[in-house]
C-alpha cells in the first residue's frame, strides 16, 4: 500500500517574536489603532511643518475670522471651518485650531512618551533588581514601591506642579508624572524575574561563570521583555490622560504653548456657543487614548498571555 504522504510541513523555525507579529497582523483592531497612533505621531513630529502648510502658526491671532459684534464668535459654520482654517478658529482670538491641535499633540505626546520612558526604565530596573537579588535589596525596593503607591498621586502631582513656577514646564511635568508610575511595572517585572531566576538556563549561565550583570542583561531581561512591552503600551494612555488632566486644571504647560487638556479647559466656557471648539481637542484626546489602549490590549494578549488573565 503506497500512499504518497505529503511531506510534513517542515518546522519553519519561527521565533516567538515572529509569531507575535503574525498574530498582530491578523487583527483588524490592531491595524486601525496602529493607523490612528501613526497619524498622531506624524502630526506631533511634523507639527511645525503641518502648521506652515495650513498657513497659520499656533500663536497667530486672526481677528478677521471672528465676529467682534457677537462676543468674538468664529465667523461661518462649525466654529469657522473653512479653506483658510481647516479645523476652524478659537473664539475671541481667532487662533487657528488646526495649528494649535497639531502643536498640542506635540506637547502632549512628548510629555506622555518621556514620562513613560522614565517609568519603564526605572520600573524595569527596580523590578529586576528586587526579583533577582532578593533579600535586603528586595525588602527595601518593595517597601519603596508600597510607599510610592500610597501617595495620593494626582493630588501630589498638582501640588508639585503648582509650587514650582520658574522652570521648564515640560521637563518638570515629565518628571512629576514619571515619579509615581514606576511601582506598577516594577511589580510585574519583579514577579516575572522571580519565576525566571531559577530556570535551568539561568542556572547554567551561572555555573558557566557569568556575572550578575551579564545574567541580568542577557538572560533575565529578554525574558521579561514581552510583559514589559505590553505593559508599556498600556500605560501610555494613562500618561496622556494624566498630562491632559494636569493641563486641564491649569497646572500643566503655560499658555500660549498649546496642549490638548488646556485647550479643552479653555473651550469649556464656549461649549454652548461654539461646541466645535470643545469637540476638536476632545476628539483628538479620545482617539489617541483609545488607540493606545486597543493596541496595548492586543499586545498583552499576545506577548503576556498569563498577564492578560490575571
Amino acid at each position: 500500500m503506497t500512499t504518497t504522504l505529503a511531506p510534513a510541513a517542515a518546522p519553519t523555525g519561527r521565533g516567538p517574536w515572529q509569531l507575535a507579529r503574525a498574530e498582530l497582523r491578523r487583527r483588524t483592531s490592531v491595524k486601525i489603532s496602529l493607523a490612528v497612533v501613526a497619524l498622531f505621531l506624524v502630526m506631533a513630529a511634523a507639527a511645525p511643518l503641518l502648521s506652515r502648510l495650513g498657513g497659520w502658526s499656533p500663536e497667530e491671532f486672526d481677528k478677521t475670522a471672528v465676529d467682534p459684534y457677537l462676543g468674538g464668535q468664529p465667523l461661518g459654520t462649525l466654529g469657522g471651518i473653512s479653506a483658510d482654517h481647516w479645523l476652524g478658529v478659537e473664539p475671541v482670538t481667532g487662533r487657528d485650531l488646526f495649528a494649535r491641535v497639531v502643536h498640542g499633540a506635540q506637547v502632549s505626546l512628548l510629555i506622555a512618551f518621556a514620562a513613560t520612558a522614565i517609568v519603564v526604565v526605572a520600573g524595569t530596573a527596580a523590578g529586576i533588581a528586587a526579583g533577582y537579588f532578593g533579600g535586603r535589596t528586595d525588602a527595601v525596593l518593595s517597601r519603596l514601591m508600597d510607599l510610592t503607591m500610597s501617595f495620593p498621586s494626582l493630588i501630589f502631582m498638582i501640588a508639585m506642579m503648582s509650587v514650582a513656577k520658574d522652570v521648564n514646564r515640560i521637563a518638570l511635568m515629565t518628571a512629576v508624572i514619571g515619579l509615581f508610575g514606576w511601582p506598577g511595572i516594577a511589580r510585574v517585572v519583579r514577579g516575572q524575574t522571580l519565576s525566571l531566576k531559577h530556570r535551568e538556563y539561568v542556572d547554567a549561565a551561572r555555573v558557566n561563570g557569568s556575572g550578575s550583570w551579564r545574567i541580568l542583561t542577557r538572560d533575565i531581561l529578554p525574558g521579561v521583555a514581552g510583559p514589559v512591552i505590553a505593559y508599556t503600551t498600556l500605560i501610555i494612555p494613562g500618561m496622556i490622560a494624566t498630562e491632559a488632566a494636569l493641563s486641564y486644571l491649569g497646572v500643566g504647560v503655560r499658555p500660549p504653548t498649546p496642549s490638548w487638556g488646556q485647550m479643552i479647559a479653555e473651550s469649556v466656557a464656549f461649549y454652548d456657543t461654539d461646541p466645535m471648539y470643545f469637540v476638536i481637542p476632545s476628539a483628538c484626546l479620545f482617539l489617541t487614548v483609545l488607540a493606545f489602549t486597543l493596541l496595548g490590549d492586543a499586545l498583552r494578549d499576545i506577548l503576556d498571555p498569563r498577564g492578560s488573565r490575571s
Binding site: 500610597s150 501617595f151 493630588i155 501630589f156 508639585m160 486641564y248 479647559a265 469649556v268 490590549d297 488573565r309
Partner: protein, 328 residues
C-alpha cells in the same frame, strides 16, 4: 491576626510619617515664602520678620517638621505672647488664607467629597461588575463584544469630557436634572441624591468601564480553574457555581483596586468637584493652590494619603474573610 493588624498599623504610621516628611520638604525646598504671602503687598520688614517668628519659619526645617508632626498627635501652641494660639488635637495648623483650622476645614468639606465618592462607587461597582461578569460568562458572543467595546471607549473618555456632555445633554438640552448644588444628606436625602446624580454618573462612567474590563478578565480566569469544573461535575446548578464559587474568587483582585480607588477619591475628586461646583475637599485643595495656602495643601495631601493606606489595610483584612486561602 491581632499581631498582624498591629504590625500593619505600625507600617501605616510609618508610611504616613514618610509622606508627611516628603510633602513638608517639597514645600520648603521649592521656592515659596508663606510669610510673604500671609503678609500681603504693603508689608514692612519688621512685620515680615514678626510673622516669620510667629509661624515658626525662622526655625530649622527639621524642627518645624517635628513641631508639625507632633502637633498632629498632641496638639500644640503656635506663636507666643499675646498672639499665642492653641491648636487642639489633631492639629494640622491654620489656613494662611482665612486663619481657620485646617482640620476644621477638612471636616467641613469631607461630607461632600465622601457623598460624591461613595455614591459614585456604588454606581460603578454595580454597572462595572455586572457588565464585566456578564461579558465573561458570555465570552466571545455579541453581548461580550458590545460590552467590551463600550467599556474600552468609556475608559478613554476623560472625566471632564463626560461631565460636560452630561451637563449639556441632561441639564441644558433635556432639562431633566437640576444643576448640582450640594444638599446635606441629613437635611433632605432625596435632594441630596438628585443633586449628586450627575456628578456620580460622570465619575462612575470612567471607573465602571475600568472595572468591567478588570472583572471580565479576572472572571474568565477563575471560571477556567479546575475547581469550577469540579463544582460543575458535582451537578451544582450553574447559578450556584457562578455566584458561590466563581464570583468569590473572581472578585478578590477587584477588591484591591477598589480600595485604592475609593481611598483616593474620598479625599476629593479635584476635577469632578470643580466642574460641578461641589464644595468638597478637592475644591478646597484647588483653591488653596492658587493662593499658596500651604497648611491646607499639606493637610489635604496627608488626609488623602491616610485614606489610601487605611483603605489598603481594610482591603487586606477583608481578604482574610473573602479568600479562605489567606490566613494571617
Amino acid at each position: 491576626m491581632i499581631l498582624y493588624i498591629g504590625r500593619r498599623l505600625l507600617g501605616v504610621t510609618g508610611v504616613l510619617i514618610a509622606i508627611a516628611a516628603v510633602t513638608f520638604t517639597i514645600f520648603y525646598v521649592l521656592p515659596s515664602d508663606p510669610a510673604a504671602a500671609a503678609c500681603g503687598k504693603s508689608c514692612s520688614v519688621e512685620r515680615l520678620a514678626a510673622i516669620r517668628t510667629h509661624m515658626g519659619l525662622d526655625e530649622p526645617v527639621w524642627k518645624q517638621f517635628w513641631e508639625f508632626a507632633s502637633g498632629i498627635f498632641t496638639g500644640r501652641t503656635m506663636g507666643s505672647g499675646q498672639y499665642a494660639l492653641h491648636c487642639d488635637f489633631p492639629c494640622l495648623g491654620y489656613s494662611y488664607e482665612n486663619s481657620e483650622s485646617v482640620w476644621g476645614l477638612l471636616m467641613d468639606r469631607l461630607p461632600v467629597s465622601a457623598s460624591l465618592a461613595l455614591g459614585a462607587a456604588v454606581l460603578w461597582l454595580v454597572l462595572g461588575l455586572s457588565a464585566g461578569v456578564t461579558a465573561a460568562l458570555r465570552k466571545d458572543t455579541l453581548t461580550d463584544k458590545v460590552l467590551m467595546v463600550g467599556a474600552v471607549a468609556a475608559a478613554s473618555l476623560p472625566v471632564y469630557f463626560t461631565s460636560m456632555m452630561l451637563i449639556y445633554g441632561l441639564i441644558r438640552t433635556a432639562g431633566l436634572l437640576p444643576y448640582p448644588q450640594y444638599v446635606p444628606f441629613g437635611s433632605d436625602p432625596v435632594h441630596w441624591a438628585s443633586n449628586l446624580l450627575l456628578p456620580w454618573l460622570a465619575l462612575a462612567v470612567l471607573y465602571a468601564a475600568m472595572y468591567a474590563r478588570q472583572s471580565r478578565s479576572s472572571m474568565i480566569e477563575t471560571m477556567a480553574e479546575p475547581y469550577i469544573r469540579t463544582a460543575r461535575a458535582k451537578g451544582l446548578p450553574r447559578r450556584t457555581v457562578v455566584v458561590k464559587h466563581g464570583l468569590r474568587a473572581g472578585m478578590t483582585p477587584i477588591l484591591t483596586i477598589f480600595g485604592m480607588d475609593l481611598g483616593g477619591l474620598l479625599a476629593g475628586a479635584v476635577i469632578t468637584e470643580s466642574i460641578f461646583g461641589l464644595p468638597g475637599i478637592g475644591r478646597l485643595f484647588y483653591g488653596a493652590l492658587s493662593s499658596g495656602d500651604q497648611p491646607v495643601i499639606l493637610g489635604v495631601t496627608l488626609l488623602a494619603a491616610a485614606f489610601i493606606v487605611v483603605a489598603n489595610l481594610a482591603v487586606d483584612l477583608l481578604y482574610a474573610v473573602v479568600d479562605p486561602r489567606v490566613r494571617y
